[in-house]
């Protein structure tokens, strides 16, 4: 036998051995999952990915994550690539960049016969027939809790002799799906109280936009008096609080701030500059997704079609004691559950 034949034979044997071993390892897995979601570079999604990967490993699933840069076209392309590869997983996890524009890709995933779990954005009439369930936050509950917290703060202010209850809202872009759900739920929660929204600005996501938007809104409504500020999430609110402080307001005294999502700055709550927030844990969201995948694969259905992550209120008094049990059985404190500077 020539040297060349020996080498080829040896290489073939090694490849076959590796193949058999990999198949054996793969066979030990409970199943495989492919997740389509946003980029890990975004703080919230970064923690979500940690949640799904960690829990998938713990539960014995094989998982592949495809990240897009908040770009539906990119996500559509990733879907086509996965389908073209021909190796289908047992479950798809679908977090669309844009639920409406991404409907075609969701339909394509559904056509493969592989069950699809939708994440983070509530199902709508168009897409609910293509998914077997939903796991994620409840924008309305989160905003409603923020409204109730603000009512509580307003009642305390009134009891102390306060007479002005003007609210400014630092919002998501109005074109973003979560905006309508959040602002309506917040308005419902404060309805009937003394609180009155006098301004709403939608500069964008994040601290920098929160600061810029708030600075402009303050200039616009300063004359009417600003007493409360609602941040549609804590990152936006953190920037807003800085703008209010620069404008001469004393946070916690002149202006009471309430946020949501728990993606801002813990120290602001500890210092009393932010009255409170409502927890929305990306880690929990990721874990919940894997729990539902496991439930579906074992029983062929979900006990509940819609599955929200819990949104408890967090204030200065409860900040150190707030904890949630993860779907991996561990108890997580606030620093692990939140996604901002915590």
């Amino acid at each position: 036998m020539s040297y060349f034949r020996k080498v080829v034979g040896l290489a073939t044997a090694v490849c076959m051995a590796v193949g058999v071993m990999s198949t054996a390892v793969y066979a030990q897995k409970k199943g495989s999952i492919v997740s389509f979601n946003g980029p890990a570079g975004e703080a919230y999604i970064g923690r979500f990915i940690k949640g799904i990967k960690g829990t998938a490993e713990l539960k014995g699933f094989d998982i592949k994550v495809y990240e897009n840069q908040f770009n539906q076209a990119e996500q559509d392309q990733q879907v086509q690539q996965v389908l073209a590869a021909g190796v289908l997983p047992d479950v798809f996890i679908w977090w669309p960049s844009d639920a409406t524009a991404g409907l075609g890709s969701l339909r394509a995933l559904h056509k493969t016969g592989v069950p699809v779990l939708k994440i983070n954005q509530l199902p709508n009439e168009a897409d609910k027939k293509y998914i077997f369930g939903y796991a994620g936050p409840d924008d309305r509950l989160r905003a409603r809790n923020a409204g109730y917290m603000m009512r509580e703060a307003a009642a305390a202010k009134k009891a102390a002799g306060g007479t002005s209850f003007n609210v400014i809202a630092l919002s998501y872009p109005h074109s973003y799906g979560g905006y309508g759900l959040s602002i309506n739920a917040f308005k419902d929660a404060i309805a009937g109280s003394d609180l009155k929204i006098i301004g709403d600005v939608d500069e964008g996501f994040g601290q920098a936009n929160g600061y810029k938007g708030a600075a402009k809104l303050i200039a616009s409504v300063k004359d009417q008096g600003i007493d409360f500020v609602y941040g549609m999430d804590d990152a936006i609110l953190t920037g807003g609080i800085k703008a209010l402080e620069e404008a001469g307001y004393k946070m916690g005294t002149d202006v009471i701030a309430v946020g949501t999502v728990c993606n801002g700055d813990k120290q602001l709550i500890e210092e009393g500059k932010q009255f409170g927030t409502t927890l929305q844990s990306p880690l929990h969201e990721g874990q919940l997704a894997i729990k539902l995948v496991e439930e579906y694969l074992e029983t062929g259905k979900l006990a509940n079609y819609i599955n929200f992550t819990p949104n408890p209120s967090v204030t200065k008094e409860t900040i150190e004691t707030t904890a949630l049990k993860g779907y991996d059985g561990k108890l997580y404190g606030i620093s692990e559950l939140c996604s901002g500077a915590w």
Binding site: A43, Q207, A219, S220
Partner: protein, 342 residues
Amino acid sequence: MNTDIAVGQTAPNTPGWLARLVDRYSWLVVILVALFLVTFFYGMVTAPNFLTLFNFKTIIRDAALVGIMAVGLTFVTLSGNFFLLSMKETAALAIIAFATAMSQGYGFELAFLFTMAVAVIAGGLQGILIGLGGNPIVVTLGAAGLFFGVASWWSDNLVVSFRRPHGAEWLGSGSFLGLPNITVAFIIIAVVAELVLRYTNFGRQVYLIGANRAAGKATGHENFSMAIKTCIIASACSAFVAIAFSAQVSSAHVNYFSSSFGSSGDMTILVIATVMVAGNSIMGGFGSSLRSSLGAVFISTVDNMMVLHGFNSGPRVLAVGLMIVFSIIVFALVRRGSRVQE
């Protein structure tokens, strides 16, 4: 023939100011600018609370971060090296460097120096590649990915926070004579940059190489060293913005300068837009850092005015886009007119 004209007497053939403007810039330019000015002043006068000292400070403060980056980028553009498409990513790398150093307890001074060193390396690397003949767009696109990747990996995509008091509050939240220190820094940087460009040998070399690279080479001024120097200046300005912002919010994340949904759009694009709106020549050799500073204030003014008129983010993004297109048309027409006259 006696052509003397008595003092105070208008010569019968001397064109009026309007005719002189038309003669110099063409009817089209004059009508376009007049239409714009009428719209601008109408918006300004009718915007509630626009003409107040508080709002004026808001506008300048809003312009500061983008303005500082635009001043830095102007050096690159004037030297004929187009743009750095890595401004945002340089800031992302710098903010992670600063916050990491601060969170490790190194103090403001050391963290500042460390961050600036990172920025100098980042700018220098790009400058070397551009100076060696690399296409600035390709080089800086690649650098953008590299810097963002390093920053994401370094921070593990998490928010890096440091607790107050941390010694950097004076830059992030302090004020001088009623102006936020970031605004004061913007004014100082803009003035120093303009003086450097106008009155130093380095400044004159920037214009010379930008206007005519061959002439610059013939007089011993190579683009190689110029590209390195201007890229370092731009990177240092990005890093300064990152430090100031991190000092304000006591934290950092790689996406603080990404604004996928924000009304400001992407930070790099906004900085480039600022340089363009100001009428700096994209080919180099014409423009000034003062123009870029005013461009930042101008964009901030229009945005502010629209917020006060109650416009949400969509129309405001549209307005910035229209301003860029408008300024490109007007400045192109003006330059074409100048060449025809020559």
